[in-house]
Amino acid sequence: MRWRVDPEAGPIFEQIADAVMAALARGELGPGDKLPSARALAEELKVNPNTVIRAFELLEHRGITETRRGLGTFVREDVDVDALKAARLREAARRYLAEVRALGLGLDAAQAALEEVERKDGTRA
């Protein structure tokens, strides 16, 4: 997977943790997969190794990864991918709905727009 962070967009350790959860939700990462070492990832992102360690700690705290002594950090076998997927979908829906409301429109318009986009662009996506 491709890693990216934006130092202007909030704490970097949260962005790294979010990137792992997004990759899991999209199936780019799966249960049992090994994450890069904190040092290698820090180097790739040009961030402080402590920041990556903090991100891994957050993921471990959330029950998403585990550290195997001497081997590295792995996605847990029992990670609930469906829950991650659902949470991400809700988050995207929340953003979409906020925009719909800002336009003064309601659920019907939102639904119609989704269906229209699906019809026109769906095959491309």
Binding site: I12, R39, V47, P49
Partner: protein, 226 residues
């Protein structure tokens, strides 16, 4: 603490360069020293290195006055300190013989990582020069690295390489104090940022904490130093 500055003052003739500067660096910390030209960044680094004596206050390097703890800190000046006609590998050989902390194997690894060309300094671009100087500085195994503007005025690829080398060489027992005004590129590698203006510390803060408050280091730089 690797480095402790307490209420440090430094004047050049009558012009104050540092006033009431307090600052600590713990092992493993990478701290950005941020400020515009003339803010006192170089003076602060030189005082920390023991190259300048403060007019007031206290400096402790591993608990000792910097001159007693000489050799425990590497100071990398902004401009190349080596003779123009020498090659970096020659400087490395010289340092290996003169400084027991200089690790030739580490230098070779760093020179490879930073793609240091094998030619005299006189024939190098600014970026190549900066990479060579950093390799020579980091090859010394010390608890403190004081780097003065290692990113200033060099090409994008060299800056990228230098930041990667700093992460690559990061050690839990060594601290880095790095002055720069290239904030947006370097801020990712900092634990903390110290904002210096007119010789005073305006703000000393954890950068992730700053981001958690919805502020960016770049914005804060403009805000604090304007």
């Amino acid at each position: 603490m690797v480095l402790e500055l307490k209420n440090v003052a430094k004047r050049y003739l009558k012009t104050p360069a540092l006033s009431g500067v307090s600052l600590t660096l713990a092992p493993g910390q990478v701290v950005g020293l941020l400020g515009l030209n003339g803010a006192g960044k170089t003076t602060l680094l030189k005082v920390a290195a023991g190259l300048l004596l403060p007019d007031g206050g206290e400096v402790r390097l591993l608990g000792e006055p910097p001159r007693a703890a000489r050799g425990q800190a590497v100071y990398l000046p902004e401009h190349s300190p080596w003779p123009e006609r020498t090659r970096p590998a020659e400087v490395a050989r010289l340092l290996a013989g003169a400084d027991p902390r200089f690790d030739p194997a580490r230098y070779r690894e760093l020179a490879g990582f930073l793609e240091v060309p094998d030619r005299p300094f006189a024939q190098m671009s600014k970026g190549q020069r900066a990479r060579a100087n950093l390799a020579l500085a980091l090859a010394r195994r010390t608890p403190l690295y004081l780097l003065d503007e290692p990113l200033a005025g060099i090409d994008l690829i060299s800056r990228d390489r230098i930041l990667k080398a700093l992460v690559h060489e990061w050690r839990a027992e060594a601290a880095v104090l790095l002055s720069t005004h290239e904030v947006s590129e370097a801020e990712g590698i900092f634990d903390r940022a110290v904002f210096l203006k007119d010789g005073r510390v305006m703000l000393d803060t954890g950068v992730e904490e700053l981001r958690a408050q919805g502020k960016s280091v770049v914005e804060t730089f403009k805000e604090v130093l304007a």
